[in-house]
């Protein structure tokens, strides 16, 4: 593929608003997980909640979009000069030549969960102030974003559970290569809701502690929420050395089970290999892997086998979900931004909460931060339904 330039990017998660706070949290090994106090949830679990989401106010003309997910989207968009960057891109390319590709798993479903508590006792009807289209519907976060910027080109939500906001890079890559657009707003937004908290709990997949990826005692995920965005443009002739490029994408399906990964990590292996092939890189050229690393028994075991089969045991790697929690449909986007920070700052982030590495998982899993330049990094995102996506990001010089 022709490399694409992440000309601007930003992430907001439980470890901070925007790049400076995110980088500082990674440097200080500060996590964002805390015992769940969200809404009326009565589960013994930890969550990575973003502070201040409820206080966000949408512009008056977009009031119909008001819900936690779109408030989080706006909070994320407003960091790091991202809004100004998109406006500059509109001036450069035109509003119809910029696509919107956002990942989410549950969009604003919380709005419907809350509305179901206020059904008419006689008719069962939902309250009159409930607006499905602009809140609950899966597309609402992309629709909000395109209206917020006045973008008139192609727009879509990718919703393949926890691979969603990695896969948006692939969809945007194809549409740019096909020539339909000149730039793309990509990313992911997912926010806390009862469906995922009680749903993952029903599967026995939520930990009662802060999640411990790759730990011998790991016992489940901590659900998080996040908003991450990147502006993709074609690579110009001259770039600063620390500019970040998308070099490869790889996608596959497990064809195995709805909620368990392929035990040998076969689909994951195919996704990583395809990303390497597209990037034209050998496994030995990858300096760091941001693992999917959810901290479930099965994910980490299967992902370890897949990584070993492609890279051997020696590539430095970690899961940043011990810090951020698992932001589900926004995880791929957040971890893409973390990969960009790794490339720009030469910081390979430690995995948090992991006290004793599982001896069965033989990888160079980082328990301490490592200051080390990285030229090429790979990020894994896998999800329910056996959906896999791997991305490769690189420094321009």
């Amino acid at each position: 593929m022709n490399p694409l330039w992440l000309s601007h990017f930003t992430a907001t998660s439980s470890i901070g608003r925007g790049l400076d706070q995110t980088l500082a949290a990674l440097r200080q090994r500060r996590g964002g997980l805390a015992p769940c106090a969200f809404d009326t949830v009565d589960l013994a679990t930890f969550v990575g909640e973003v502070a201040g989401v409820d206080a966000v106010r949408l512009p008056a003309h977009l009031a119909d979009f008001d819900c936690r997910n779109n408030r989080l989207a706006l909070l994320g968009l407003e960091q790091d000069g991202f809004v100004a960057a998109v406006h500059a891109a509109i001036a450069k390319y035109g509003a119809q030549r910029i696509g919107v590709f956002l990942g989410t798993s549950t969009a604003g479903i919380l709005q419907t969960e809350l509305a179901y508590r206020r059904r008419d006792p006689v008719t069962g009807a939902l309250p009159a102030d409930f607006i499905y289209r602009t809140t609950h519907n899966t597309f609402s976060v992309a629709d909000f974003t395109r209206h917020y910027f006045g973008l008139t080109g192609p727009a879509v939500v990718v919703s393949s559970a926890c691979s969603s906001s990695a896969k948006v890079f692939s969809s945007a890559r194809r549409m740019m290569a096909a020539g339909l657009i000149d730039a793309a707003v990509v990313g992911g937004v997912d926010s806390l809701c009862l469906t995922t908290l009680y749903g993952f709990s029903s599967l026995g997949l939520t930990s009662e502690q802060a999640c411990r990826p790759f730990d011998a005692q790991r016992n489940g995920i901590s659900i998080g929420e996040a908003a991450a965005f990147a502006l993709l443009e074609r690579t110009p002739d001259h770039l600063d050395a620390d500019a970040v490029l998308l070099l490869g994408t790889g996608e596959s399906s497990d064809a195995y089970h709805m909620s368990s990964p392929h035990p040998e990590g076969l689909g994951a292996r195919m996704a990583m290999q395809d990303a390497l092939n597209m990037a034209g890189l050998n496994p030995s050229e990858i300096d760091y892997i941001n693992l999917h690393g959810t901290a479930t028994q099965t994910n980490d075991a299967a992902e370890c086998k897949a990584v070993q089969s492609v890279f051997g045991p020696g590539t430095p790697c970690s899961s940043t979900k011990g810090a951020t929690g698992h932001a589900l449909g926004a995880a791929g986007g957040v971890e893409a931004v973390i990969c960009a920070l790794v490339l720009q700052h030469g910081l390979l982030p430690a995995g948090l909460n992991t006290r004793q590495l599982d001896p069965a998982l033989d990888l160079d899993y980082l328990l301490d931060n490592r200051e080390q330049p990285a030229a090429h990094v790979l990020s894994n995102s896998f999800g329910f339904g056996g959906t896999n996506c791997s991305l490769i990001f690189s420094r321009a010089g």
């Binding site: 119809q96 798993s105 479903i109 969960e113 179901y116 508590r117 059904r119 069962g124 009807a125 939902l126 409930f130 499905y132 519907n137 899966t138 597309f139 629709d143 395109r146 008139t152 080109g153 192609p154 727009a155 879509v156 990718v158 919703s159 393949s160 559970a161 969603s164 896969k167 692939s170 969809s171 890559r173 194809r174 549409m175 290569a177 096909a178 020539g179 339909l180 009862l194 469906t195 009680y198 749903g199 993952f200 029903s202 599967l203 996608e251 596959s252 399906s253 497990d254 064809a255 195995y256 089970h257 709805m258 909620s259 076969l266 195919m270 999800g383 329910f384 339904g385 056996g386 959906t387």
Partner: protein
């Protein structure tokens, strides 16, 4: 004007009064009257028994239309990348979850939860067909057919590969129905290819346009087109059913539609 070109090699169609592509062409072409009746979803025979029991309407609809299109094209489903596009996934399942979460007993079942993901149909598809290929799972509310068609076309053009588009929506129960009135199940599947082959039915050349979407002259078919997002693709199928080279405009976003030049093969 930038265009994307692909060859349609197979079509799958299932909806109210439209059962399969061969039997629906005369209706869409206007030679036979359209007689709507509730969509009948076939059991998902390809799925292992455990998954068959757990599968909802969106899974059955997706499998039926996708397999019809791929069989018509004479291809192996396991070999094809896929694009799943649905306005909002399984409404019955969503209703059941929201009802439980508003009750005193919030312990939703694991099956309810894994069926709640928007990519449930894609996951079951992969299990049923053995396809380990890439799949894109999309939503664009009422623009979902157009978004799916664009995604599939970009796979064909940028990655030089065949792909299968599966655009499917299923009915919403009350009280969600009042907020999102999708009345029945409807799905269109298309196998798209980058090169002309013996099985090609038509070449399509697609661009963005400011023109308004085509309407269907039959009032009942037009209400179907409006009522179910996946049915926004019907003017394309009518164009092929009429066996005439022509240009149709499909609904997409409020800001742009899709112009499709159809050239029969």
């Amino acid at each position: 004007m930038h265009t994307l070109t692909a060859y349609i090699e197979g079509i799958g169609l299932l909806g109210p009064g439209l059962t399969g592509w061969p039997g629906s062409q005369a209706v869409l072409g206007g030679q036979q009257p359209y007689q709507p009746h509730k969509t009948v979803l076939p059991p998902p025979a390809l799925l292992p028994s455990a998954e068959r029991r757990r599968s909802g309407a969106i899974v059955k609809l997706t499998l039926a239309t996708g397999l019809e299109a791929i069989a018509a094209a004479g291809l192996d489903a396991a070999s094809l990348p896929s694009v799943f596009s649905s306005s909002g996934g399984d409404g019955e399942n969503c209703h059941a979850i929201c009802e439980m979460l508003a009750s005193d007993d919030r312990q939703i079942s694991p099956t309810r939860f894994h069926n709640s993901v928007h990519n449930a149909a894609a996951g079951y598809w992969s299990i049923a067909t053995g396809a380990m290929t890439a799949s894109s799972v999309l939503s664009a509310f009422d623009a979902s057919f157009g978004a799916g068609l664009l995604e599939a076309l970009t796979q064909v053009v940028a990655d030089n590969t065949r792909t299968v588009l599966l655009a499917c929506d299923t009915a919403y129960p009350e009280p969600l129905y009042s907020a999102r009135p999708i009345p029945d199940a409807f799905g269109i599947s298309l196998v798209l290819a980058p090169q002309r082959s013996a099985q090609a039915l038509a070449k399509i050349t697609v661009s963005l346009t400011d023109a308004s979407a085509d309407r269907l002259s039959d009032a009942a078919l037009e209400s179907l087109r409006i009522a179910i997002p996946a049915a926004r693709g019907l003017p394309l199928l009518r164009g092929i059913a009429l066996r005439l080279d022509q240009r149709v405009v499909l609904d997409y976003l409020d800001s742009t539609r899709l112009a499709v030049e159809i050239a029969l093969c």
